[in-house]
Amino acid sequence: MRDARSVSGLRRVFGDLLLAGVVVAVMAVAPSVYSNQLLLFNFVMFLTLSQGLNVIYGFTGYLPFGYVGFFGAGAYGFALAVMHLHAPPLAAMAVGAAAALVLAVILTPLFRLSGAYFAIANLAAAQAVYEIVSNPALEDITKGPYGVSLSGVFAPETSYAVSVAILAGTLLLVVWLRNSRFGLSLRAIKEDPISAAMAGVAVVRGRTIAWLCSALIAGLVGGAFAWQISVFYPETAFSAQFSIFAVVFTLFGGAATLTGPLLGVFILYGIYNTIGITVPQYFQLIYGTLIVALVLFLPNGLVSLLTKRGIRVP
């Protein structure tokens, strides 16, 4: 019995790792096949951001509506380190990641709020960070609303490679959460925090770790974004679009799985890039309708079509 279970357990881990490995390999070799590297970077960015959001939303049930706050903190942390400290890009990325972590620590008290209030307070927090960064009064430090230019460190190939590495790390984290005792304890907290606490699960510690991991991922992606595009404005780095897309992609595919957010990005962001660029309103209309339909008819995403029939999806 025990052996059988561990064999099937190993098989599951192997399936998850195989999927993660295929995605990372495809994104790693893609630039040599397809020339629009910025588009590929956007795919990698949203793949990582959706999985980062999945870490906190899928496994703990807390929906960070202001997820872009960490992304923007990462991008501006990177930019400030390059502008003021003349830091090399990798060190600047560490600064960006640290900025996102600091923001996450400051926002940890939001976990005292339950679901809907957490989401709204998080949204307000992201906007507050944007208002501070873009404030003309801080022009000497952040360049205020006029945006930053980091052409000195512009290196699209290297930053793309780094972003694929971040994607690999994020996918590994999700695989671990899906197959480890810690991930199981997070899902227990999501289902019923009181029972979980009574069963000896460290509720606050579990949530906080997931929260910091999720923020760290967004901060790293933000740093890679700043490095990749090198010229940006606060309204680009703090665009609500990042949070919205990450939420929609994750919901569409199915949270708390590895496949769901990946499917969401490949399908929806693929559609977005074929029809969305010219008339963004039409895409907004489509994903708005999709959200309404998903909540009403398929609240657990595309993968639930399979999982409901007892088929395990990585």
Binding site: Q127, A128, I132, A137
Partner: protein, 291 residues
């Protein structure tokens, strides 16, 4: 300067009460978060703009038209989505996501139909010249907007406390289950409350071009944060607490714009976070903590 800021703050406070009131009514009755509230407000603004531009209709008449149409539109929206939501396990959370989707649909349709340029209605439509009040000269459009808001808030009060349907509404607010058990048609009461809620947003929208400046299809998101700040400060689920929230917010905003103008945009966000964290029951609420 201080007195000027406080008086205009009171005016704006009444207006922001109207902005938040519908959201709070919907939350109080249904325990769902209407994240499309700001977008219904935006639709009210565009209704006022087009009625004025095409037919020269006075905003006051536009407000009456918006009231009728929005209540009529609110009922089918309620029956289409809310009963399904309320049976779900985590209806509050799902409602946020669903109404967020609805807000995107409304914003996209408005942008496709009206374009994304800024629209405004000249302030002289609501009376010419400034009004003198306690030695302060205030734009008459502000006074008009504040007066209409006060009347609308008073009407909601009369509805809730002086009519039979209002009594039933308050019963549902206290306990949905017990109201159901007493034989109240909970869905009918809730549907009407939902219609009134978005109609209040629409009426606030009619006066938005005068109080908030020009309007665009994308204005809803900012309005939402302001409306949330107002109702969270003035106790969630308690429509009349909204008056206090609105006035705190209005005076705070005017003081910030007078003394710290470059940071004024931070106010709604910081107020919202601070109140949620330190006094989730609202500044003057005594209810148990729901957040």
């Amino acid at each position: 300067m201080l007195i000027g800021a406080i008086i205009s703050g009171l005016m704006f406070g009444l207006y922001f009460t109207l902005v938040g009131l519908g959201l709070n009514l919907v939350f109080g009755v249904m325990r769902i978060v209407n994240l499309a509230h700001g977008d219904f407000l935006m639709l009210g603004s565009f209704a006022a703009y087009w009625l004025f531009t095409l037919f020269g209709l006075h905003p006051l008449l536009a407000a009456v038209a918006v009231l009728v149409v929005f209540v009529a539109v609110g009922l089918p929206i309620y029956y289409g989505v809310v009963p399904r939501l309320l049976v779900a396990r985590d209806s509050e959370m799902l409602s946020i996501i669903l109404f967020f989707g609805l807000s995107q649909v409304i914003e996209a349709l408005a942008a496709i139909a009206f374009g994304t340029s800024e629209r405004s209605i000249p302030g002289r439509v609501l009376g010419s010249g400034p009004v003198s009040f306690l030695g302060q000269r205030l734009p008459s459009a502000w006074v008009f907007g504040a007066a209409v808001s006060a009347v609308a808030v008073a009407c909601v009060y009369l509805y809730l406390y002086r009519t039979r349907l209002g009594t039933l509404t308050r019963a549902v607010m206290v306990s949905r289950e017990e109201a159901l058990a007493t034989g109240i048609d909970v869905h009918r009461v809730s549907a009407i409350a939902f219609g009134i809620g978005i109609a209040l947003a629409g009426i606030a929208g009619v006066f938005a071009p005068f109080m908030l400046g020009s309007v665009t299809p994308a204005m809803g998101a900012d309005i939402n944060v302001a409306a949330f700040a107002v109702i969270v400060v003035g106790t969630l689920g308690n429509p009349l607490g909204t008056v206090i929230g609105g006035i705190v917010y209005g005076i705070g905003l005017m003081l910030m714009q007078t003394y710290l103008s470059s940071w004024a945009n931070l106010l709604p966000n910081l107020l919202l976070i601070a109140v949620l964290l330190f006094r989730p029951e609202g500044l003057f609420g005594r209810a148990v903590r729901r957040a």
